[in-house]
């Protein structure tokens, strides 16, 4: 399974830990970012999560030039255009994205327009279109799952054409990602669970996928160890700052892993389900993960068996016969999902999720077959096999 060749790239400065937010003014100053704009969403603003960011800036005499707090869950080209206009009107010279995946992707897209010029973000869609570094860009994640703070991609919906526009460039990577436990402390239980399962899926697919490599493996296993150790304690004690920080770091590590080794069929099915049924991404990951691992089992037996050590610890790993470790790893993931279902009713099947109908499965299967991540799945997936995985995940 190991690659004889690989590329690994992550130039993002990660600033992580208690009082990490208070490093932001210094980082802004270092890049001559004197008039930063904050991009966020209503939920983040209403939850009071901007307050510590603004306070940290205020105390260091950094003036925030503009705040846009209306980013929707599925960001669009018109939202990007509106924010760009505000950025230009207020003469901003840097972006701080405070939020989850959609906010961070929006920040990346706005940074393209304000750096490269123009109002049509669609013209920069694709891979390798950008040729120059962009304006200073900082990310403060408020969920622990997407890993977007360390990935070089963004997806924005073109609402006129009804398609999702992908943007890929190393220039989209932020200058710094600030991981502060205060930002995830108030995350509701079901979002904590779903986003952690998203991170677990990133790490697992990175470690078992076609493009795995020694460096991404190191990040993936470290992320899995943290999630295995801290997810349930945080579910039981949501105000546990240490645990929150561990999960946030796990998410970033999983992000670094998968952005350098890609993901597989869990994501293909998840992207398709999100598009057809608007089921949240983290939830899709949580539902599909064990079923896809079972499907891939004979192609990933060795690395999956190794993951048991990181997920369950040395004692369980040592006590499990080598030939049963891969199955034990899948069983451990199933148990984790059961525990999460018990604590916050996180659905374990498509039927439990409520938004998916059995009649959707065929469309989901067909859509998944055209998803880019299917290329990196360790097994060659046929349409019939995709259907079979979906039927098992149904109920």
């Amino acid at each position: 399974m190991s690659s004889q060749f690989y590329e690994f790239f992550c130039p993002v400065k990660v600033i992580s830990g208690k009082a990490a937010l208070e490093h932001l003014p210094w980082e802004l100053q270092g890049l001559s970012a004197t008039s930063p704009m904050i991009i966020t969403d209503k939920g983040v603003h209403e939850a009071g999560l901007l307050e510590p960011v603004l306070a940290a800036c205020r105390e260091s005499e950094v003036e925030i030039a503009a705040i846009f707090d209306q980013v929707p869950p599925d960001s669009s080209t018109s939202v990007v255009r509106d924010i760009t206009r505000l950025y230009r009107e207020e003469n901003c010279n840097a972006i701080i994205a405070v939020g989850g995946g959609s906010v961070i992707d929006t920040g990346k897209a706005v940074n393209i327009l304000v750096s490269e010029g123009g109002d049509e973000i669609a013209q920069y869609s694709g891979a390798g279109v950008l040729k120059h570094p962009l304006r200073p860009f900082f990310v403060i994640p408020t969920t622990a799952g997407t890993g977007s703070e360390v990935t070089s991609v963004a997806v924005i919906t073109d609402e006129k054409k009804g398609v999702k526009l992908p943007f890929t460039s190393s220039f989209l990577l932020p200058d710094a990602a600030i991981i502060d436990p205060r930002m995830t402390l108030t995350l509701p239980a079901h979002i904590t669970a779903a986003t952690a399962m998203d991170a677990l899926t990133h790490a697992t697919e990175a470690f078992t996928g076609l493009a795995k490599n020694p460096l991404s493996d190191a990040y993936a296993t470290a992320a899995i160890r943290k999630i295995g150790q801290w997810l349930l304690p945080v579910m039981d004690h949501p105000k546990n700052e240490d645990g929150r920080l561990e999960l946030a770091q796990a998410s970033t590590m999983a992000g670094i892993a998968f952005s350098n080794s890609m993901v597989g069929l869990v994501h293909s099915l998840g992207h398709a389900t999100g598009a057809v049924c608007h089921l949240p991404h983290g939830l899709c990951m949580s539902i599909y993960l064990p079923y896809v691992l079972e499907y891939n089992l004979e192609s990933i037996r060795e690395p999956l068996g190794e993951l048991l050590l990181h997920l369950e610890g040395a004692d369980i790993y040592a006590g499990t016969p080598q030939e049963r470790r891969a199955e034990a790893c899948i069983a451990a993931i199933r148990t984790l999902r059961d525990e999460l279902h018990q604590r916050c009713q996180l659905p374990r099947t498509l039927k439990e999720a409520g938004k998916v109908q059995e009649s959707h499965l065929e469309t989901i299967a067909r859509l998944a077959m055209d998803d880019g991540s299917i290329l990196f799945n360790p097994r060659e997936v046929t349409l019939e096999e995709a259907r079979a995985v979906l039927r098992r995940a149904w109920a």
Binding site: S3, F5, Y6, E7, G126, A127, G128, P166, G209, L210, A211, S261, M262, S299, M369, D370, D371, G372, I374, L375, F376, P378, R379, E380
Partner: protein, 182 residues
Amino acid sequence: METRPFQALQLQARRTYVALMFQVMGRALQAMTEVDGDVCRDTRELPPGFLFEMRVLPSGPGLIMEHTDHGHLRFLGKSAPRPINLSIQFKHMVHAFRVVSFQEKTAVAFANERMLVDGDIGYAVRMTRVLNRLETFILPEFLAARAVKQYPADLRLAEKVQSAARIYLRVVTNFFAKASPQ
């Protein structure tokens, strides 16, 4: 720096082999869409007139296919009558050689970032699937197993031989049709 004669010969041989393989693949792809229903189901989704290209950067050999209609692809050689819709590009001649000499699977070449996609990712996934199916049918099992991610366990020898014979027959016919004076 001056290239040594043997090295120059080696580079030229590699270039010629890749160019020849693109010629064979182009004609075989055209034939495949004429004889294989499964491949047609994938290519039928491409818009009519859709142009697909595989080439070696910066100006190496390549192949261009046109979706005429109903899933049929036509090999156009190396020149396109209009802008390309989907381009799969090898970063270097060596990368292309590794793939077309079956030292590296197409999916692994993607994973290793030896190949770039310019265009719709969904269509690129489809075309990769088509290329994999082509390799599965026209290559002997020991070579096909090296070229594709997973050699299909349910592919019977009789079916493979029959399909391969039909594809090769059309490729040869197509070669001679192009070679004979009008």
